[in-house]
């Protein structure tokens, strides 16, 4: 059975650990003085005292300490600032593409593991949904430390295949992820953009925060093929295109650029954080980029 170390190199783990400081400034509920947790009073396990800052609720003041030291301290509880995050992992056939050793699926599962690890370190609840044309697996969010193993096992067991239908799947998920929280979508987003945006809007309507990691293979962005090529579909069996790539390259790149631009504008419209990732970049870089983005939003 694969362990965390099979997904994360020690350097990655170290890097992610160092990023926890940043994560705390970003993830919902961490800056408890700036806004309130949506799940206040849910947990009662005491964690620590901290100095009072303006904005903290008066009822959380520890009057005993004030009596002893003549200073205001606030009591913090373990579950009080946690987020319920759900990672939506695309395991459609197109995610199986990789021009190098790393396929998009490979990259996506590792990224998901990183995120899960990061959030569990922050005691956030993390769940996992893998999907293609429908939901393949659903693991509800948990914050127990042992939940990481469950998630990692599920990620390791996932296999890409089948066609993509993001729109329909996401609409279905809205009903299943009924508690609002953070939705982390890891997908190549191949499909009709209007359908995808419609589904994301649905998430937003259900008051979910949505982060969309769009995974690209370098070859998909550069189309480096020169010789006659038979492109066989990873999603639909027997579907192929036999073309001279050199004559199509510019048209392909233009089409990809249009696609990306349309997606970018749509995400911006629905306040969805879109993070394009390329599989030749380290996961940690992607996480750093994401956390930087979240901190700016915060």
């Amino acid at each position: 059975m694969p362990g965390v170390s099979s997904f994360l190199t020690p350097a990655d783990v170290r890097r992610i650990a160092s990023l926890q400081v940043l994560a705390r400034t970003v993830v919902e509920g961490f800056c408890s003085g700036l806004h309130r947790s949506p799940h206040k009073g849910f947990s009662v396990e005491f964690r620590e005292h901290r100095a009072y800052v303006p904005g903290d609720e008066i009822r959380r003041l520890d009057w005993k300490i004030f009596a002893r030291r003549d200073r205001f301290y606030v009591r913090e509880f373990e579950e009080e600032t946690n987020v319920r995050a759900t990672i939506l992992l695309d395991v459609s056939g197109s995610m199986a593409y990789g021009s190098g050793e790393v396929t998009k699926h490979h990259y996506a599962t590792r990224l998901a593991a990183c995120l899960a690890y990061l959030m569990l370190q922050q005691a956030d609840g993390v769940g996992l949904v893998s999907f293609d044309t429908g939901v393949r697996e659903y693991i509800p969010p948990r914050s127990r430390p042992g939940h990481l193993r469950v998630l990692v096992d599920a990620l390791a067991a996932s296999k890409p295949g089948g066609e993509t239908e993001l729109g329909r799947v996401f609409h279905d998920l809205v009903a299943r992820v009924h508690r609002r929280g953070l939705l982390i979508v890891i997908s190549d987003c191949f499909g009709r953009v209007p359908d995808l945006l419609s589904a994301l809007a649905h998430f937003r309507h259900a008051r979910h925060e949505v982060i969309l990691f769009q995974v690209w293979d370098p070859a998909e962005l550069e189309f480096p093929f020169r010789t006659w090529t038979r492109f066989e579909s990873l999603e639909r069996a027997a579907h192929h295109q036999f073309v001279d790539p050199a004559t199509l390259r510019e048209a392909y790149l233009r089409r990809v650029a249009e696609f990306r631009e349309e997606l970018k504008r749509g995400c911006h419209r629905h306040r969805v954080d879109l993070v394009p990732l390329v599989t030749d970049r380290p996961y940690a870089d992607a996480l750093a980029q994401y956390l930087t983005l979240r901190r700016r939003r915060a």
Partner: protein, 728 residues
């Protein structure tokens, strides 16, 4: 546009390296690569099919067409490369004739303007080399001729297949002739093609400096007739213009030389007036002009000559010795030496012996019939001056006149002579016919009937019958006067210049109403204000007769009292005496003639031309004199004739100075001329050879093929990028 020349030939292509044409198979390489590429494709399991599907769906048809087009271009590139390396040549049926013999006439400009040039090399020298090269390049068995445009080229103007002889003849061909005449040269070429040249492949090459003077629009009609004559040949020749030499306009010419009198006596002063012209744009502030007599420097003058201007230089001159002399005015201004000098031949006489036959030999002072005339003809000797008189008079009463007296005379004056014997009249007639001059002043003693029967008439000497007497010698009231007009007669022309006096102020109380037959009407040199002729001239044989309506003394008029009397008498006598010598200064092509001593048997004279070549001419007896003539005066310059018993006689053959203006036809004019002639224009020997090679062997297309290849390579790149953009 009408183009003279042979009919257009059908197009065909041959190859110089036909083996390399096998490279055309390389055209299949792109196709093979294309097919191999399609067979040896790679398979990619691809995720982003949605993008590919979109592109292929919308561009499938266009992509196929573009790929086909690109494939064709790529196939054309190696094919064109092979084609270029095979050196294709565009030919017609010419490929069949190739080195077939041809007939070529080179019209060679041997005018003196071709002597201009730079860096020690004349245009004529370059023209000779190019013409020789043209002839040398003709195919074996070709016939060629070279026709001089300004003067004959005897060594080469007969068509021959001996091209070596033509080439060597060209080297020795004389140049420096006068004005290049295009039309006659073309007519000569047409004549050669018509009767003496036989090949079907015919060419006329005009090697010239293409001076504007020779190709002026004024001669267009003449040239057109010549072109038509050339085009009317059974096989019209091609025409090639070969302008040669560098254009230069800097040139100074001595364009004229004039003498103040046609005949000079020893010790007499004559003024030589030279006209100089600067044809170029460069100014000559200190132009040195030399004056020579018989090749010896006599004087020099400095002349300032601005661009385009004319100036005169005046040199006084006297001659110590009688005979034929040559004066020369020369500058050393420029390289075109042919017009840097002008010459003139002057016959210098000891005296002009004039026989005065007096009808009234009154010995009293100024009473004799010829008294005033003697003074007028010998003013210095009569007046005791230091200068010498040109005329030496001898007076004889009419009753003592003998034909033998004519032997020493050049002019005879009949002054109021009543009548002469029949022998005397016959002797006078012979005298005039042989070139002597006769001046007749009839007066009150003259027998009108004798003059009418013996001297007038078709076989006579006089240009008019005396007619009736008009006016009254004793009454001045009805006097007439000589009409002031512009005179064209050589003896009267000097009076057109007011500085030399006028014929005004005359009072003629009585005069003969001269009856001039219509055939001599043009001989009337001056009239009285009554309309009656005053002076009439008639040409008889080699000599001339002048008839006056009044006597030469003061009985009927005041002429001897007028200032013009002396110069008038002098001019008339000199005019009549000059007839003794045929013209010594003539134009190119004019006949040279000299009166020599009476020949004995088959005498011959020798004429030396400007090149130093001697020509023998016969001396023909004419009366008591011998006459030698020479007609080959094509070259301007000095000719010297030597009779068996005579002093040398010099002739100067002049040429029009249009050739001195070195301005050439402009590019536009050249195009117009080429159109007029249907001619090709070449600027160098290489260009001519290229033209000829193209004509004979066709035009090589390899250069065009290379350019096309380059264009295809660029086109392939451009097409590829363009298609890609369109696809985008």
């Amino acid at each position: 546009m009408f183009v003279r020349g042979p009919p257009r030939e059908g197009a065909a292509v041959t190859f110089l390296n036909i083996v390399l044409l096998g490279g055309l198979a390389a055209a299949a390489i792109p196709l093979i690569i294309h097919l191999l590429n399609r067979r040896r494709f790679q398979v990619v399991r691809w995720g982003a099919m949605m993008f590919l599907d979109d592109i292929v769906r919308t561009n499938r048809r266009r992509i196929r067409i573009e790929q086909l087009l690109l494939l064709l271009v790529r196939m054309a590139i190696p094919a064109l490369l092979a084609l270029a390396m095979a050196r294709p040549v565009l030919t017609g049926i010419r490929a069949l004739i190739r080195r077939a013999p041809s007939s070529t006439v080179v019209l060679f400009d041997n005018s003196f303007s071709m002597e201009a040039g730079e860096a020690g090399r004349s245009t004529a020298g370059a023209a000779r080399e190019e013409a020789a090269a043209i002839v040398a390049d003709l195919p074996r068995g070709s016939e060629a001729a070279v026709v001089g445009m300004a003067g004959p080229m005897p060594a080469v103007e007969d068509p021959t297949v001996d091209l070596v002889r033509i080439r060597s003849g060209l080297e020795d061909a004389p140049g420096g002739f006068g004005l290049a005449r295009i039309a006659p040269a073309l007519q000569t070429a047409a004549g050669l093609f018509a009767s003496r040249m036989h090949q079907a492949d015919r060419t006329v090459v005009i090697v010239s400096d293409f001076q504007r003077a020779s190709w002026s629009p004024a001669s267009t009609e003449e040239r057109r007739r010549a072109w038509d004559a050339l085009g009317a040949q059974a096989v019209p020749p091609r025409v090639v213009f070969f302008p040669i030499g560098a254009a230069s306009t800097d040139n100074i010419s001595v364009e004229s030389i004039e003498l103040s009198r046609p005949i000079v006596g020893t010790g007499q002063r004559v003024m030589v007036r030279a006209g100089l012209r600067n044809h170029g744009r460069r100014a000559y502030p200190d132009l040195r002009v030399h004056f020579r007599v018989d090749g010896v420097d006599r004087a020099a003058a400095m002349v300032s000559l601005a661009a385009g201007e004319t100036e005169q230089a005046l040199f006084p001159c006297t001659f110590d010795r009688a005979g034929s002399h040559v004066v020369e005015v020369r500058t050393e201004a420029d390289a075109l030496r042919a017009d840097n000098a002008a010459l003139a031949s002057i016959p210098v006489l000891d005296r002009i012996p004039v026989l005065l036959v007096s009808g009234d030999a009154n010995p009293a002072p100024l009473r004799g019939e010829t008294a005033f005339l003697e003074i007028a003809l010998q003013p210095f000797s009569r007046g005791g001056g230091k200068m010498s008189d040109l005329v030496a008079t001898r007076v004889t009463p009419e009753d003592r006149f003998a034909p033998s007296m004519l032997d020493d005379a050049r002019v005879v004056v009949l002054a109021n002579v009543r009548q002469l014997s029949g022998d005397a009249v016959r002797a006078l007639r012979d005298f005039v016919r042989d070139g002597g001059g006769l001046l007749v002043f009839p007066g009150d003693r003259a027998s009108a009937a004798w003059y009418a029967t013996q001297l007038a008439g078709a076989e006579g000497l006089l240009p008019a019958a005396l007619g009736v007497l008009a006016g009254d010698p004793a009454d001045d009231a009805g006097a007439s006067a000589i009409v002031a007009q512009r005179h064209t007669h050589p003896a009267l022309a000097p009076f057109n210049d007011p500085r030399r006096g006028s014929l005004g102020g005359s009072r003629i109380r009585a005069w003969y109403r001269l009856e001039v037959p219509s055939e001599f009407a043009e001989g009337v040199a001056a009239r009285l204000d009554t309309g009656d002729p005053f002076l009439v001239e008639r040409r008889v044989g080699e000599g001339r007769v002048l008839l006056s309506a009044v006597p030469c003394d003061a009985d009927w008029s005041n002429l001897p009292m007028r200032p013009f009397y002396l110069p008038l008498m002098q001019e008339m006598v000199v005019h009549l005496a000059s007839n003794v010598h045929p013209p010594r200064n003539v134009e190119v092509g004019d006949r040279l003639a000299a009166f020599l001593a009476e020949p004995e048997g088959e005498a011959r004279a020798v004429v030396t031309d400007p090149e130093g070549t001697a020509h023998e001419v016969p001396v023909v007896r004419r009366g008591r004199r011998g006459v030698a003539e020479f007609a080959e005066t094509d070259r301007p310059g000095l000719y010297t004739l030597r009779g068996p018993k005579d002093e040398p006689v010099h002739f100067v053959v002049r040429t029009p100075r249009e050739e001195s203006d070195l301005a050439r036809v402009t590019e536009e004019e050249m195009k117009a001329l080429a159109t007029e002639a249907g001619a090709k224009v070449v600027r160098s020997g290489d260009e001519y050879r290229e033209l000829e090679r193209e004509r004979r062997f066709g035009r090589e297309l390899w250069r065009s093929a290379w350019w096309l290849l380059l264009a295809l390579l660029l086109g392939e790149l451009v097409l590829q990028r363009w298609f890609a953009r369109r696809a985008a």
